[in-house]
Symmetry: D2
Subunit: 256 residues, 4 copies
Amino acid sequence: MSAIAAGDVVVLVEDSGDRYLLTVAARPDAQRVRGIGVIDSAKLAGAAWGSRLTHGAKTFLLLKPGYLDLALSVERKAQIILPKDAARILYECDVRAGKRVLEAGIGSAALTSALARAVTPGGKVTTYEIREDFAEWGRGNLARAGLSEAVEVKVGDVRRGVAERGLDAAILDMPDPWEAVGSVAQALAPGGFFCAYSPLVSQVEQTHAALAKAPFAQLRTIELIERDWTVGERGARPSFEMLGHTGFLTFARRVA
Amino acid sequence: MSAIAAGDVVVLVEDSGDRYLLTVAARPDAQRVRGIGVIDSAKLAGAAWGSRLTHGAKTFLLLKPGYLDLALSVERKAQIILPKDAARILYECDVRAGKRVLEAGIGSAALTSALARAVTPGGKVTTYEIREDFAEWGRGNLARAGLSEAVEVKVGDVRRGVAERGLDAAILDMPDPWEAVGSVAQALAPGGFFCAYSPLVSQVEQTHAALAKAPFAQLRTIELIERDWTVGERGARPSFEMLGHTGFLTFARRVA
Amino acid sequence: MSAIAAGDVVVLVEDSGDRYLLTVAARPDAQRVRGIGVIDSAKLAGAAWGSRLTHGAKTFLLLKPGYLDLALSVERKAQIILPKDAARILYECDVRAGKRVLEAGIGSAALTSALARAVTPGGKVTTYEIREDFAEWGRGNLARAGLSEAVEVKVGDVRRGVAERGLDAAILDMPDPWEAVGSVAQALAPGGFFCAYSPLVSQVEQTHAALAKAPFAQLRTIELIERDWTVGERGARPSFEMLGHTGFLTFARRVA
Amino acid sequence: MSAIAAGDVVVLVEDSGDRYLLTVAARPDAQRVRGIGVIDSAKLAGAAWGSRLTHGAKTFLLLKPGYLDLALSVERKAQIILPKDAARILYECDVRAGKRVLEAGIGSAALTSALARAVTPGGKVTTYEIREDFAEWGRGNLARAGLSEAVEVKVGDVRRGVAERGLDAAILDMPDPWEAVGSVAQALAPGGFFCAYSPLVSQVEQTHAALAKAPFAQLRTIELIERDWTVGERGARPSFEMLGHTGFLTFARRVA
């Protein structure tokens, strides 16, 4: 139980917090991992979970990937939805085992990975993405994380309709979520959860206006500000580096 | 599927956001719900999920409770860990189906409810609480939410030892989490997740110091600031009311 | 120098931080001070600055009023511009001795008091206020603070024109500052400072649009979030109580 | 009045917000300005305030420097106290014309410049700096801003005593302000304002402890978080870039 085996997905974590995802091969290989270089993943088999590995000039912790590890190790093609927001989306939209969730669009699949993890076992994530190249990129990240089975990535536009019905939640990361309120209303089960992630206040205003005219209630918008702290010998203080903004989170529930 | 039935746990949500939890009885009853008064829960059977109920002068949405509903409807005996922090804890500690999680102490069981929900099916939450009255109060909230099965509430002190072994995560909401670092280290599996929730900076400093001497890595402390937005006819703005502080979140991972 | 004398303006400060302004009379009187009741101000003469006075059940520090004391002791008819914003306005608009400043509107004259203080000696504040009752109320607060001389309160609408020319700064606290951009541009000297204080994002957007079409440069909008800290025996933490929002501050400079 | 003349201090402001300070020479010269290169300052004479100058590939606004311009144009040898904090310090410590203010240490003289500006006319800033090289560097920045007259820069240690008496305010930007509480208490007039600027929570705690044992009242610590906003065609949002922390501001007043 505490030894790494072939087939395991392992995250290699540097002290700096940088992370790399790897699937352990059954026999010697030469995997190329972005940021690490070439590594023989089979050598990890037999190592203890939570132990350290030295590779070249770097030292890594070998860990089972949690939500955070998955998010921070995706290969990025677009800005990802960060942990502070992803965590809150999972919570507010009650994303857990067995749930059926709609997402649009896939971005770098960082949020998709979290959704896929959360609905397992028994649930399903359906992701609409209008750009074929993003869909493909996202599938790659999902495969690397061993999460392909729980996700269906569709190339399509949620503004033109959603094929699924009776869904538990819908999470929209797109420039004009208000244009999708109608299709999402049809796809959600009564009581289903709606979330839109939007960087601009004007987007929030338009989404609220659209939700107010549709069968939704409990409209709310929040933003989360994360302050990391530096704890050292002489004392603690908020870190000087900080992200000023990501996106506003608008939530609502489908009513009958 | 979209009609409420006997045995269902329903959350009644007011437009104000106030929430009340109810289990629908099989035959006419007279349940006393704090904040609502006496209600015949059997009358809810047959109503559509997502529909509205008028009871006295109030109108409620009838919904399946999500994480947020559970947290905001617990009967409070102590300050609860709020959604912004609870969401992040679930995420950072990778709490999901099948996981075995330690919590100390139970408070009003708001976080416990979220943990219990998240580990279902297949997982287990063990909560240590030093005060018998809090343990009892928490059990009541868990029962109301239909979550008793996934949780074992123990009256005991984690600082004196934890009986469980190989746990996936440990979440400490107690005045001196640093005193429990040793027992938690023994209880966690390699790679297991540690979290302490502390209002004071001095607590954070002491927890970091204890973790640094124990088999933990990837120590980090963050705080989350939540701004709610008011979106009205004339435009949007951050709400004037805001909570200035809840607690700092310290995370770490058990290493080999 | 360190003894209070007749004619002095004194602020009485409670440990709670509540403040009351008083002018010391030359002979025994019975001043009615809102929040304190009737007091014989002449009794303060001869007391040392920085000493304590017991009056009824309360104890006060006797201090020379600073900016903060003036702001927190105005009698409020409208929400005041708070210290965090007032301080920044003085700074960004370079309000100091000798400057000629326009303000609209007067509100409770809290900001007006600060401006009047800052431009003394040699400067002048002109305040346009469309409501006669607010103008009157504001004059009362200025008189109590001994600041009437430095301020001219005009009942008038800055959107319809400003009589003054060559001003150093203009500070607008009104619902539609963009409507005043034209008159303010005429009133300001080249290089003069513009500031609008607005609670809504939509106001900020409209003000920016108006400034972009007028002779202004260096447009910037900021918001300030203030966290008060509680420092106690067991350690320090941010205060639980906090104001979520006041207003956005938009700054610009008049160009040639 | 609106034309630049020899002897004027001018700030050259780029659209990016970068700023450079210059004193206009009476006859052609070749001033070397860090960030701009060599410029003949005499050419600025006769230009209108608020007009634009093209020099090389850059375009500048020619403005009279305000507080902000002075702060952002100092040549930095150490991290400066930023506008959000400097503005609040001036306000809370009632720094204005005629006041006598103590500062320790000088850093890059950014705050010193603001203090000097604010106390003019009639006031005086005395700055204690333990390092001769910082004192010299600060004097250079003050000279460039034309503010040398209002400031006395002393090489000395405020922890060992302050020669001045009856001061209106004392502002400490040093690693151990608690060690200076005694000397500052002696130097301040009754009612005088105390301020310490400290990055660490542990510093705040120690300063509070020292103030509590000395003749000070109205102890308070705050922190200011500044969010800059980006206002564009499509709408507004908080800027992605943000400074996570500068310092905590601790205030108190000297009592009798």
